[in-house]
């Protein structure tokens, strides 16, 4: 899946990453997405063992260790390919990064997603911020602090349950996405379905980060 002509012998490329005629390594095209590079379809459920096996296999093909005796060009390609492979593996290995990457590919500009609080929790989070400020200002030994701390503990439980719910919802969307892709039809209905899944995923991912930051802050404050 590299470019169509070997950079070295200029022959038509039939092999995947190595020219079949002169056996030179080929640069992985910049346009290749991580899924394709690792030989996986654009699905959100990936067997981690299969992914690891592929990562190890490609590492053995690309790693600079095996290009010490080769030309400078091949060494440069090996370095670039290895760096790209490592990024691809790191991205696809983590379910959240994988989903964010897929969103980026399918809908673009994921980096621009602002983290935002879940709409229904907005008021509660505002109140929580106040409680946090109060607690930080309070004398730790006082009874006020004890009350506030108990309140914060309760908030923590609520938010952690919410995190759980979001993980479950994400998992469901992942399954829905994969099923839709597996069906492979393109109709107005599937297009609408696709857009709905992506939109919901984006929403949850942005809320998820927000809630995660709040929980981290909370835990750090009361511990």
């Amino acid at each position: 899946m590299a470019r169509s002509m070997c950079w070295h012998c200029q022959s038509e490329m039939a092999g995947e990453y190595f020219c079949e005629r002169c056996v030179k390594v080929q640069p992985v095209s910049k346009d290749l997405d991580y899924f394709t590079c690792m030989g996986f379809p654009r699905r959100l459920t990936i067997d981690p063992r299969q992914l690891e096996t592929k990562f190890y296999e490609l590492s053995r093909a690309f790693h600079p260790d095996f290009f010490q005796n080769k030309s400078a060009e091949e060494q440069t390609i090996s370095l670039g390919n290895s760096a790209m492979l490592n990024t691809a593996y790191r991205t696809l290995r983590d379910p959240i990064q994988r989903a964010e990457y897929l969103l980026d590919l399918e809908a673009g500009a994921v980096k621009d997603i602002r983290t935002s609080p879940p709409a229904d929790l907005f008021e509660e989070i505002l109140k929580l911020q106040d409680t946090l400020d109060e607690y930080r200002a309070a004398d730790r030994a006082s009874s006020t602090a004890t009350t506030l701390c108990a309140k914060l503990q309760a908030e923590r439980t609520t938010l952690e349950r919410r995190q759980q719910d979001m993980e479950t919802a994400l998992q469901q969307l992942f399954t829905q996405w994969d099923a839709l892709q597996d069906r492979g039809e393109v109709t107005d209905q599937t297009r609408a379905e696709r857009d709905r899944i992506l939109k919901q995923m984006r929403g949850i991912l942005s809320n998820r980060t927000y809630v995660k930051n709040i929980v981290n802050d909370l835990v750090a404050t009361i511990s």
Binding site: R60, P64, T87
Partner: protein, 608 residues
């Protein structure tokens, strides 16, 4: 195709070793004295520089001109080591952000001192193997930053060695263990050496050694244990004999060495007596010490190694019970309390079948064999120990490549301008885990050249690439024109290329028998420069010449690159001549092109 032999070198704080692969088995090369270790000590005597065991004798005889523990100064500025200067008997100065040792009339940078140790090892290998050695794999602590790695590479170059790979000590040790035991599973390597501490967690599967996380402290090792014991002796000598030995550098060294010996003895016995001769006819100081006593003194230091272990586990997303094996590396792991604490943390008896002093060098030899094409079934996938970032508005560090990312690792960042007509963007590269830029290690600064345009219009893509050595390379590309820009990165705490070259030259003044190696290095340097220039010309002017001319040039380039990897300076010069010939159409085309461009926009009358 296999290439010239590559040796594996463990350049340690206290001792250094060289090993090679002998028919599938890594072996350490012993010196004439039958000892495997070369003490990392360099002495400037009236008869010139001496290294290793004979230099060690000068520690007490001529302390001001005898350097030990040079590794603690690699890639550091004077400010970095301010706190421990009183412990060292030699005079330190600084020049261009790099420490210099003043030995007699001359000053030497840490890479130059290290190079002397490397030369001794090189010589030892050449004597044993009966061939010229020009290539090496050198190990560094996993937690070494970019400047420290670069300094190690510089040391190799100054010693006339092409450093094909810098590898991390704990991972090297895992290679030696993996080769021997064909281990599978998750292992933790706890490496406490003379001056540094590392912990690495690896996953071993079908010959792949994948590092999951690494952590450490580059300023914690056996030296620190010795200091605590030495301080105890000094205090008691003052009390009992009214003597402050700080005024006697030779005796200070004797105290340090006796503290080290006492510590070593107490790993085998429960009780021992330290003995020191005092100056000014004050007789002799003796002190009985028990293992319990030094354990309670050094407990704090051992505890300091456990926090990095926990951090590494956290980064690897593992709990201690998920670790299948624990391996001990480094001389300091001979201390029973260290073993006990490690065993308690991981809940299993650590491995120490391989000599902890030698296992790193053995692993370096295995990696050398992988690079030379001998061992093909093993592959090490290491990580970068520290996050790499750039300083952004408000002095905050913005992370570009996170710590524990598998190397080679690359990341791209886009830069633009804030003011109309701005012609440069200053970039400050940092390494570390802190929020604020000033709390992290400054690696380098450089200025990105930008065409004068309205603010926000230029788009310069900067690629940060950490290679398999853990060393950073930076490339910039103007996205509007597609032109690549070479970046002059000025290291904040390192030697510049020209300084290294000067030091290479200087190093040959010490040894007359190295003339041929010098020719080789010069030929390689010239060849490297020629390759870079020709590649740039191809990039700039490739479109100006016929495709068969491009092909011929590329072939000649490749031939030169191969020759540069070889050891024959004459072959390199010959291939350089070939390339010059092959690239002639390109050179001529570029000249004509620039001439034509220069003429454009001029009136005919001005041309004549």
């Amino acid at each position: 195709m296999t290439m010239a032999r590559i040796v594996g070198i463990d350049l340690g704080t206290t001792n250094s070793l060289v090993a090679y692969m002998d028919k599938g088995t890594p072996r350490v090369i012993a010196g004439r004295n039958e000892r495997n270790m070369v003490p990392s000590v360099v002495a400037m005597t009236d008869n010139g520089l001496i290294v290793g065991d004979p230099a060690k004798e000068h520690l007490t005889r001529n302390p001001a001109r005898t350097v030990y523990s040079v590794k603690r100064f690699m890639g550091k500025s004077l400010e970095d080591v301010q706190g421990e200067l009183t412990y060292f008997p030699y005079t330190l100065t600084e020049q261009g952000g790099v420490i210099r040792f003043k030995l007699g009339e001359k000053t030497y940078s840490p890479p130059q001192i290290s190079a002397m140790i490397l030369k001794e090892l090189k010589h030892r290998a050449e004597t044993h193997l009966g061939e010229s050695i020009t290539k090496a794999v050198i190990t560094v602590p996993a937690y070494f930053n970019d400047s420290q790695r670069q300094a190690t590479k510089d040391a190799g170059m100054i010693a006339g060695l092409e450093v094909l790979r810098i590898i991390n000590e704990p991972t090297a040790a895992s290679l030696a263990y993996g080769l021997q035991q064909k281990t599978q599973g998750t292992i933790a390597v706890y490496d406490l050496g003379g001056g540094t501490f590392d912990i690495s967690i690896l996953k071993l599967k079908n010959g792949i050694f994948e590092v999951l996380a690494t952590n450490g402290d580059t300023h914690l090792g056996g030296d620190d244990f010795d200091r605590l014991i030495a301080d105890l002796f000094l205090e008691e000598i003052r009390e009992r004999h009214g003597l402050d030995l700080h005024a006697y550098p030779d005796h200070m060294q004797a105290v340090r060495l006796e503290a080290e010996r006492t510590k070593i003895r107490l790993s085998d016995v429960l009780k021992t007596t330290a003995t020191l001769d005092l100056p000014d006819g004050k007789g002799r100081f003796t002190r009985e010490l028990t293992r319990d006593q030094i354990e309670s003194m050094t407990m704090g230091l051992i505890e300091r190694t456990l926090a990095p272990c926990r951090k590494a586990l956290k980064d690897a997303e593992l709990t201690p019970d998920r670790i299948d094996e624990v391996v001990l590396v480094g001389g300091s792991t001979r201390m029973p309390l260290v073993r006990q604490r490690v065993q308690e943390l991981f809940g299993k008896i650590p491995h120490c079948e391989l000599n902890p002093d030698e296992v790193v060098a053995l692993g370096a030899a295995v990696q050398a064999d992988i690079l030379s094409g001998g061992t093909t079934d093993m592959l090490l996938l290491d990580v970068t120990p520290l996050s790499l970032g750039i300083e952004t508005m408000g002095g905050v560090m913005s992370s570009v490549i996170r710590r524990n990312t598998t190397i080679p690792a690359g990341a791209k960042e886009m830069f633009t301008t804030y003011v109309d007509g701005q012609t440069g963007v200053d970039i400050h590269i940092l390494q570390g885990e802190r929020e604020l830029a000033k709390d992290n290690r400054s690696l380098a600064r450089f200025r990105l050249k930008v065409p004068p345009l309205p603010a926000g219009v230029p788009r310069i893509e900067v690629t940060f690439l950490i290679d398999a050595n853990g060393i950073l390379n930076v490339l910039a590309k103007d996205m509007r024109t597609g032109q690549s820009q070479s970046i002059e990165v000025k290291p904040s705490y390192g030697l510049s290329d020209s300084e290294v070259e000067q030091m290479i030259e200087d190093s040959f003044k010490f040894a007359a028998d190295d003339v041929s190696a010098r020719k080789l290095i010069e030929a390689r340097l010239d060849a490297g420069a020629m390759i870079t220039t020709t590649e740039k010309s191809l990039l700039d002017g490739g479109h100006l010449i016929a495709s068969d001319n491009i092909a011929t040039t590329r072939t000649a380039l490749a031939a030169l690159a191969t020759a540069k990897d070889g050891t024959d300076p004459r072959a390199i010069r010959a291939r350089m001549a070939d390339l010059e010939q092959a690239a002639k159409p390109l050179t001529v085309a570029l000249l004509n092109d620039s001439l034509t461009k220069g003429l454009q926009g001029k009136k005919v009358s001005e041309v004549t």
